[in-house]
Symmetry: D2
Subunit: 402 residues, 4 copies
């Protein structure tokens, strides 16, 4: 057992942090001004930073093996934390969700043709993609509820359904989506589903509206409600084969949750930094707020919980590296529950430390809160992950297992 990152991992962290400090953070204001000016065009600043990052070799670092930077999940995790401190920066490095997950899926399950047509431009950062899974009409906590139909009709599949929380659909460069739906409602529960590639310009594919998160539109990425109305795509667009949708979804969740959780830890660290700076800079009742002991308790709890949570995420990453996501079913569920909860408490405390500035746009805290709050729901609510964990515990004692 060894708690020091490898030299290689430390080296990547140092490179990424330096690039962030030198090339990215100084252009934050410029980037956001361009987004505000016209959120339907890809900001020039982003394209320039992307070119620099790619040239610097800080590109597709999330992707295992030769296609990316050759990093393990454990090595990549701290990089996700660094990007998570300023969430928008992940696109600079082509490491933003859900493109990352979609690239993983195409990397692992895509046919050579699918990879040539979609994976290649995604990895080049030329196009963006969305993943259409959650549906407004059913409890997404139970994945077997999905109602979208993917029906074979000769050389095509015909897709009908309504999806929402389709992240990236607001991105100017979005071109392709992966849609989850049922090809066979009579099959065994976990063989009913399939995943299929649907370009956004396919007839019948319609963005119904964009969704807000606590009042934020989350431009330029955005979350859409999408209607698929007799959408026809060639049978070659199916990924891996009929009935493998659930399997593919499971596979992407492991590394994806590591990424989410590490970014969440980055957000928590940033909130803690902001909180401490505020506490040290303001005075009430004749002493610095930092010296009021209730804040000592909160700052300490923040540090305790960040440290505990980060170790858990890193261990889960290590377990995936050792034996795949199946090897870490409980651990992946554990961090999915633990990380957002931890971060929300810290962000909320930071808001309290800032007073009115905390809930307004003068700090990033309220928007961080909104974003992290959705993580208690995205990819399944806490309750379902806890159900998984509990059933694995029960199974250890001979009870009905996970």
């Amino acid at each position: 057992m060894e708690f020091r990152h490898s030299d290689k991992a430390l080296h990547w962290q140092e490179r990424l942090q330096r690039f962030m400090d030198d090339k990215v953070l100084p252009r934050s204001a410029e980037y956001w001004a361009q987004v505000r000016e016209d959120h339907t065009r890809q900001p020039q600043a982003m394209e320039e930073m992307k070119a620099q990052a790619r040239e610097a070799g800080l590109w597709n670092m999330f992707l295992p093996g030769d296609h990316g930077a050759g990093l393990t999940n454990l090595e990549y995790a701290p990089l996700a934390e660094i990007m998570g401190r300023h969430l928008w920066s992940a696109e600079v490095f082509n490491c933003n969700a859900p493109d990352t997950g979609n690239m993983e899926v195409l990397h692992m399950y895509g046919s050579p043709e699918q990879q040539a047509q979609w994976l290649k431009p995604l990895m080049a950062g030329e196009i963006r993609s969305a993943f259409l899974m959650t549906e407004p009409a059913v409890a997404s906590s139970d994945a077997t509820n999905i109602e979208t139909r993917i029906e074979r009709d000769g050389d095509h599949y015909v897709i009908n359904g309504r999806k929402w929380w389709s992240t990236n659909m607001g991105h100017p460069n979005v071109a392709i989506t992966i849609v989850m739906g049922k090809t066979d409602t009579d099959a065994a529960t976990h063989q009913q589903q399939s995943q299929i590639l649907v370009p956004v310009n396919t007839p019948g594919f319609r963005v119904e509206r964009m969704l807000s998160v606590f009042g934020y539109d989350e431009r330029p990425i955005g979350h859409a409600e999408v209607v698929l109305d007799n959408v026809r795509v060639p049978v070659e667009n199916l990924i891996a084969g009929e009935g493998r949708g659930f399997e593919i979804a499971q596979g992407r969740l492991g590394p994806g949750r590591i990424h989410h959780c590490m970014r969440t830890i980055g957000a928590a660290e940033r909130a803690l930094d902001l909180m401490v700076e505020r506490l040290l800079s303001r005075t009430a009742f004749k002493k610095k707020i930092a010296e009021h002991s209730v804040w000592e308790q909160r700052v300490a709890e923040a540090r305790i919980n960040i440290e505990m949570c980060r170790l858990s995420v890193l261990k889960a990453a290590w377990m995936i590296d050792q034996g795949g996501a199946k090897n870490a079913k409980s651990e992946i569920a554990q961090i999915k529950v633990a990380a957002p909860r931890m971060a929300l408490q810290i962000i909320d405390d930071a808001i309290q430390a800032f007073g009115g500035a905390g809930v307004s746009g003068d700090t990033p805290l309220a928007e961080l809160y909104a974003g992290v709050r959705t993580l208690r729901l995205a990819d399944g609510p806490d309750e379902v992950h806890n159900r998984t964990i509990a059933r694995l515990e029960y199974a250890k004692h001979g009870g009905r297992g996970g």
Copy 2:
């Protein structure tokens, strides 16, 4: 001791609820459409509803004695809860903050001239007002920190300072503000401050920007940052006398907190209603979500906490009625801490029950959360109210008191 409301109070509740059901809620969509269309004009729907409410005698119900409906704080409190379920509706009845507090101040402390010029049109609902107290540069948790200066110069006062969270400054009809500032920095701590009337069209009075709450702009009311740059007003605009600002501020806080807390309870009841309806309407893992026992626990906790909190607020209202806000210093602080905390937990659970719909604009929950979250900061953060409560406890045992 008697826990039934008086017949009079029940009658008012019934009247208000009926008016809400018949005249207000059916026009909600129309009103909000008009706001979205042009938030700089007072919506026609609002003016019509106001006229109807006034005609129905449901007008200025918050104001004690003959000037309003002749209701005690205890009798008015449940009306605030009813309006709190749909917060925007309070304006229909001329019962919205901060106009209510400003009217109370002018009612109790205003000169006949001040009352004729400003109280009369406020009570008629013809103009709106703001209260300028909090400042961005100092910890508002300690009221003695205020830096705005009100300096005598012949027959005028000259005011310099920067305020924010000035609610109502976005309202199309806003005309007058009450500004808190220091007239004498050498006086005893609680005699340094004064309150003064400043019309919004006075030269040097400038709205710097509007603030957001989480991602909401809270139109049409809005919260502004305001700069007062050598603003000159006649000495007659001072309220009550130099050095009485703190006293006036204290006086308004008692009833105002009853109103806030009851509205917050209304918000919590609404969130609970929505949550239960959702739980009963969705199925996961082959049974209604309502039947998963973790939700039984949360629904029960919601009911327990709402009931406890409402009784506390009603008791505080009763104590104010019995002997004024000074009589209920601890109780008023208690509910200020308890009500938002209670409501936030319930709203957050409701969000969890709704999944993605909970954080989006498809339910009122995320906006309710944002609004209630600010109540843990507005009029002083929880920590300062808890300090007050604790010191009153210490005083009972001979410790340094509140």
Copy 3:
């Protein structure tokens, strides 16, 4: 609505408090010394205090109507709080559980012969009684699980079963028990059970062992595990009639929970008193611990939660007075959950304030904690009460009700 106790109630509070201060608390040490010396004999001090209390008219105050002091539940509740500060004192006034509940049952459901034989000496404080309901072999959270059998055999009932947490079985004067068991396992779920009187000296009635609560034996009262092995009692011992056991049990729970909850509030107030005194008397890091703001927060939360909880209990008492326990099903469940939780947090904070003295016998805190902890389990665990509350909420929205 009126939050002041009636003059009559205030008068009783004042009388009881004075008697406590003058006659009971000064003899606390003497009483406990006698218990420690020989816990199998009724302490002389207790008998003397009982005689004085009876003479002073402070006797059986819990019993409604002419048989007691003629107090309503609302009037009695604050007296239970006063006794709850020093739990052992309730026996002085013949107001201790479970004798109170047993007397209520005999008062409401007992035949004249049962009342003459058992209610009369109980009301005179000459004998003590136990209530044998909970069983070690089944989940007591679901009352239908009870396995004890009460079988008719000619003019007798034959009882077989195993009970535990039979409070008072350690009392030197215990003479009679009320046993809950099934007379007809084929009847409808809530008509299977009956209650029957079983004297402790009946052949086959055996105290198997005394139970501890945390490390406390809770002498002199004690909790026993009791075996009923072919215990025969005359058919006249059955209370009210076969199949009415559940109905009788429900009836006793309303007032009993008011008593428990008010005593629990008394315990919380005492813990808060002790905590504040400690905080004001010790110094750390150069200031009184009371001035460390984390303690301000905890003291304030304690006060907030006690006040909210007390109002809820008083309202539930008032509702029982208005229309019986059936009228207050949710409210009674609410306080059963809320009061122990509230008190446990305060007692735990007080323990923290005292350090080592808090967990030892030098303060009453650890024993209070142990005692209140059992209240989250006794008469059904929190989870079952929350289930009841939730189902009543669901029923309001057309869901399956309580």
Copy 4:
């Protein structure tokens, strides 16, 4: 970074676990029967198990370097967890507190004579020892408060003071104590204190009484209140030198807290095991309690929190191994706060799952709760550790540091 224990560590875990299963747990009942029979004599069963453990090489495993088993803190930590599942078992392996800490102190700071006289028999398990630090008269949260005086008088030191929570003073074999007191009240704050060896049979050394923990006497080990009344010991008994008491105390705290925290994790795992077994074995409302989803949530939270906490403790152990306790000031404070809190919640949930059996002696849960609750106070309360952590955070931002 590597989350797998070394082969060496795994081997030791396997050896210890096997010995526990084969030689220790089967004799639990026998051992406790002997303790209950006569707690003033060392149970024969313990001596036999000790002899076996020593022969098996499972002896003094806590001690680093050649004197023990040659294990690092990281390697020893999981062994402490195994022993923590059955806390009394630590003595079997001569690994019980506070003997472990006292042996460490003598190992690091003791003179050759001190080591020959006291360390040798301690390491042989022939005698037991206590550490006398905490005092009843002052807030132990601030170590500078200590009032015991150690005054030089010729070739002797004369010691006067009152200590409590002196663990092991009830042990039949206790022979030696290490006493913390002030040799120079004029010195700099952290140079006033010294540590000195005081045999329990020295004239003037008096056990005033034994203390209880939530009603438990914690025999055979016990916690004593000790009076030192003009106790004279030779100057050679001073450890390391005058004024080094604080330094010595700090040194022992690092490894000691690892041990405490890992034992606490062992206790938490045991509580979780018991809880799950109970939930799977009982039925309420027609299904296994395990299937009520509120219990899924609690079991999952238990697993999440145990895993996070264990990683933090192991990391702190690793940091001590890397650079000493000074290297891990924040981390050691973090686990001291986190581990008991985590375990208390799980034990409390387990109590709730067991109902009445949970608070009684039929499960180990109530006694575990009591024991772990003291860990939030022993070696400084949570609040002081949080203060340390917070100040280290503040220092990162230029604030006044730890």
